[in-house]
Amino acid sequence: MFTRSAGFIVALLVSGAAVAAESPQRGQPITAAEAAAWDLTIAPDGVGLPKGRGTVKRGEQVFAEKCVSCHGEKGEGKPADKLVGGQGTLGGDQAPVKTVGSYWPYATTLFDYIRRAMPLTEPQSLSAEEVYSVSAYVLYLNGIITDKAVLDAKSLPRVKMPNRDNFHIVYPAKIQ
């Protein structure tokens, strides 16, 4: 009897622990290095940016080849988003023109988005050099960097976007 009740108590403890976990633990372990193959995230401080560099000149070539059909020769847009201009249109009574130059708060977002989603028909097809270069060209068209600028993992996060200080994080509150 004694043995049986002791066994019963042990069984209770074990099942109690099982209830707390309640998980069949079916996740397959993977190394951080293996996971990196899927990791497209670029943080605003530049974490995640790959090796390589890009120039405005090279970016102009890539843009002409891959981007103009949707974004226009100078990023004027139609049918896709307008990429250039609009600075100074956001605070007044006129219709706002939201572009990379007038609205986007972080330059790293350009690299992140172009690499993962552009061009529309061939996402994730551009090399790191091409993505740095197209990012540089779009920033140059907006007057944010010079035609001599070179973008890489160090210089891209340092580009200060004109509209950066107008962005305000609401969370954990919500707006009225």
Partner: protein
């Protein structure tokens, strides 16, 4: 049977007590309808005298309901590919659940054709054990179900505009739908991976051709987030994220990442394109509100609404949907005189947190012009604002999170149009 019925209006322009139909006064409508309808000889129809169709593997709506469909379709700018959305036909739907084939859809570069056997969900970043999960592995976990609405942050955005946009409940407000979602609580998977205390956010990313991604507070992930595998009892439809999507009840639709393939725990948000250049609110003086997550309380009358013409004076049921990303709908008030007076609508059970709630109220239309409005209040005390209140605070350029009171104008001819009142 009719002795206790009080048809005295409870608010201006003919709104009647919400309990009237429940007390049996529906009989009044039936009596007047019977009185007005011409006598008709009852025929035995052809379908009663011949055998019906054989069985179907997957059921379809009646062929007479072919006009009940998602829409409108956006202009085809890129030759049948690219971003787009269609809206749920709210004016044709009843109750609180959106049928799967009519749930609104929004995609950023098409709907991927995912083989579930090859799909993987990766959880990595600030975790002790990076893990991948197959669909089959997730199917082994204990599941939870909840009924939740999903609303695109751009829904109703036309109502910020200077003139009342022509449109229907569908075209103006149809980027909201509600389903029973079933899946695995995200917290259980995060616990298995072992959350590093330094993690405060996670990035959720889809396997679509936009690799659409959003930053989400980890607190939400540990609260009521779900990896949803089922929608109204069947596997999630491709346009809603097959084989799995993130469900963040009450948060803006875009964050409920479809075709979910990756969750990365991080210290700070990634500032992705869809949380900076899109889905942020341009307020007055150029200020931009970012990371405004919950969809605030809102309601819209679906019956009557534009496209549904009134058929002569008499008693009607006004019906609509209300919802709040902050909790339960506490009450819905309806006005038939453009907001001068309000009457309490009845709420149909069940009234669930972060789910669509059906409201109803009887109305005796006298055949004159009327302006119908509804106003939701949630259990946090938040009251759906008027157009003047919302634009007064935000300006009219915010584009997203528009939840102001909608006005439907009813003409003497019985036509219903979107108006500003």
């Amino acid at each position: 049977m009719l002795e206790h019925i009080d048809e005295t209006p409870v608010a201006g322009n003919g709104l009647l007590d919400r309990r009237m139909f429940l007390r049996g006064a529906g009989a009044i409508g039936l009596v007047s309808a019977a009185g007005s309808a011409a006598a008709e000889t009852l025929m035995v129809p052809a379908w009663t005298k011949t055998p019906g169709a054989w069985l179907q593997g997957y059921g379809q709506p009646s062929r007479f309901e072919g006009n009940v469909a998602r829409g409108p379709f956006p202009a085809d700018l890129y030759g049948g590919i690219g971003p787009g959305s269609t809206r749920a036909p709210l004016q044709n739907l009843e109750g609180m659940i959106t049928p799967n084939g009519l749930h609104f859809e929004r995609s950023h570069n098409g709907i991927p054709d995912i083989n579930p056997d090859q799909h993987r969900l990766l959880i990595h970043g600030l975790v002790k054990r990076p893990l991948t999960f197959t669909v089959e592995a997730l199917s082994r976990y204990p599941m939870t179900s909840r009924i939740a609405f999903i609303e695109c942050a751009g829904n109703s955005g036309a109502l910020y505009g200077p003139k009342a946009a022509e449109g229907t409940a569908q075209s103006l407000h149809g980027l909201v739908s509600c389903a029973e979602w079933t899946g695995v609580p995200l917290a259980m998977l995060l616990e298995e991976a072992g959350v590093d205390p330094a993690a405060k956010w996670f990035i959720a990313e889809g396997a679509d051709a936009a690799s659409m991604d959003r930053s989400v507070p980890l607190a939400k992930g540990l609260d009521d987030a779900m990896i949803a595998l089922y929608q109204n009892g069947e596997r999630i439809r491709p346009s809603n994220g097959y084989p799995m999507r993130l469900l963040l009840p009450g948060y803006q639709g875009n964050m409920n990442v479809k075709w979910l393939r990756r969750i990365k725990l991080v210290r700070e948000p990634a500032m992705t394109r869809d949380e900076t250049s899109k889905y942020s609110l341009l307020l007055k003086q150029g200020h931009v509100a970012q990371f405004n997550f919950p969809m605030d309380a809102k309601s819209v009358i679906t019956k009557p609404s534009p496209g549904l013409t009134m058929t002569g004076p008499g008693i009607y049921e006004i019906s609509g949907i209300a919802w709040s990303g902050n909790g339960k709908v506490a009450k819905v008030e309806v006005s038939a005189d453009g907001g001068k007076s309000w009457a309490l609508a009845a709420l149909s059970d069940p009234v669930l947190s972060k789910a669509l709630t059906r409201f109803r109220i009887p109305w005796r239309w006298d055949g004159g012009p009327a302006i119908l409005q509804s106003r939701a209040t949630d259990d946090s005390g938040y009251v759906q604002p008027t157009r003047e209140q919302q634009i007064g605070v935000r300006g009219s350029l915010a584009q997203y999170h528009c939840n102001l009171i909608t006005s439907w104008g009813v003409s003497a001819a019985g036509e219903v149009k979107h108006v500003y009142a």
